[in-house]
Amino acid sequence: MPGAIYAEGLVKTFGDVKALDGVDLDVPEGTVLGLLGPNGAGKTTTVRVLTTLLQPDSGRATVAGIDVLKHPNEVRRAIGLSGQFAAVDEYLTGRENLQMVGQLYQMKAKEAKARAGELLDKFNLADAADRPAKTYSGGMRRRLDLAAALVVSPPVMFMDEPTTGLDPRNRQQLWEVIQELVAGGTTLLLTTQYLEEADHLAHDICVVDHGRVIERGTADQLKARTGGERVEVVVHQHEEIEPARAVLAGFGKGEVAVAEHTRKLTVPVTGGAKLLAEVIRELDNRGVEIDDIGLRRPTLDDVFISLTGHVAEQKEEEEAEKEEAK
């Protein structure tokens, strides 16, 4: 049985640009899928197709078991959308915004009013409930936007870059709300450029680039696939680099990388903490004095870079621009 969100071969072309080039997704009920990718990878376009805002050129999709293309209005009853920009009316108060959304979900005016009050309390917006949203801080607006998406407690939620532009404190707060949401059984599709966010919130991650899913799995699986852990050593003196290299070569599963002027050596390993202890003992036996040593696991950033090569490309471009500026 397909999951709460299911997509098969979604293609969407804008002019010459293939925004979606055959996207397949399957999100089991009650889980979180993180759609991870750089700007322009096709994350937002995917969300727009699944939330009935955009017709794909080809492919099919179901949300909560309902065909997105055949019964868009039925899908709309079952979903909540929280966008990249906080889509609330800034001249309406928080209460008026939520009540309006409730009524447009076809709730009776009274019910919508009661529900608005409930959500304002729960999202710590009660004090600001009767002020125009214009006066809200960025974090408050984002909470209001999220509250608007939750007016009918939809079984499936879509959040397009929910924390973009938020400060760390507000991001943390929003993460807590999202975790609670998911604990309650909501199925969530979340797009993000923040690897930390996907790592933190998502059960499964799809890495998207140029309109395609180029890798999928849990955060741990993705990390494991992109090479394992590494030992990193910083020696105290320059002369100690050579003996340290000899030691590391003995334990390593690959070439030892040396950064001469920072006196840092890195080598891929397997064996975890136990191996690290052995490395330290051996370095000590050889009289190599160390400033720092550690076992580094790859971060999602590493995964991302190794999969897309994007960060490197962007840096090259920036450097080229700087060169030209000179």
Partner: protein, 283 residues
């Protein structure tokens, strides 16, 4: 923050569908737009200044230079002018509707609305209804200013009310043109200027400010078939103001019916186009 969310379940009521839902949703959106208007009073005030300025400028600059029915009496021109200013003012509602909808697109509100199980045309209908309320308010203020500069109603109140009804219908029709413009441009600024520019030829190549009898034949022809001229002619007729020029053109001979037909045709055509555009709107 505890228990933010109830257990997710399909709690959204089954949409009623049909006309009942359309009307209900449109009224919800209209209410939203009226609240906005009240919270941005500058918009209403600027909307009033322009027509008042036009009344004063035209009455005192042109009055005395333009012959109306063979007379150069400035009082006659002021009486002639008001129908034109009324009609021009209601058509300027186009820019408001256009800018408002473009702004909603820009801010992502249209995305929010389109993701909700609401009636398809309600966002646009709600906007145009709210604009109609604003237009009505503007017309009332303008009538008072008109009375102050010497404009009078000569054929009784019921006919005058009929003229105001035709004016509001024309304004409502033009706000649908504005809605389409608002959905078609990239920025609210473009919607404002794009909503206004074409209104100048439409309102000036007409019988609004000068009698068409003085125009070259082809221009006169265009002016007399201009939808806008029919309403102006109908208002002069119903208000009993001077300047109802005899003409061979059908809309000038039957201005009330012509005005109604034109407005309804504009509503049907532009509402259809705008709602279609809305369904595929992309911010």
């Amino acid at each position: 923050m505890t228990a933010v969310v109830d257990t997710p379940r399909l709690t959204a009521p089954q949409p009623r569908g049909g006309v009942v839902q359309s009307v209900g949703d449109s009224l919800v959106v209209a209410k939203r737009n009226l609240i906005r208007m009240m919270r941005i009073p500058e918009m209403i005030i600027f909307g009033l200044i322009q027509p008042i300025m036009f009344v004063v400028l035209f009455s005192y600059v042109f009055g005395g230079s333009v012959s109306i029915g063979g007379s150069l009496d400035p009082k006659g021109y002021r009486e002639f002018l008001m129908a034109g200013i009324f009609a021009q003012t209601v058509t300027f509602a186009t820019a408001g509707a256009g800018a408002g909808i473009a702004d909603d697109m820009h801010k992502g509100l249209i995305d929010r609305f389109r993701s909700l199980p609401m009636a398809r045309g309600a966002v646009l209908t709600g906007r145009t209804l709210a604009d109609l309320v604003q237009t009505a308010l503007t017309v009332v203020v303008l009538a008072i200013v008109g009375l102050l500069v010497g404009w009078r109603v000569h054929h009784g109140i019921p006919k005058a009310l009929g003229a105001f009804a035709l004016l509001l219908l024309l304004g409502y029709a033009f706000s649908w043109i504005g809605a389409l413009i608002g959905l078609s441009v990239r920025t609210p600024e473009a919607a404002t200027s794009g909503g206004l520019i074409w209104l100048f030829p439409v309102t000036f190549v007409s019988n609004a400010f000068v009698a068409t009898s003085g125009m070259t034949p082809w221009l006169r022809h265009v002016a007399e078939w201009n939808p806008f001229s029919a309403t102006v002619q109908a208002c002069r007729d119903l208000f009993g103001n001077p300047g109802v020029v005899p003409s061979n053109a059908w809309p000038m001979q039957h201005p009330v019916i012509a005005s109604l037909i034109w407005s309804l045709v504009i509503i049907v055509v532009f509402r259809t186009l705008a709602v279609r555009k809305y369904r595929s709107a992309t911010a």
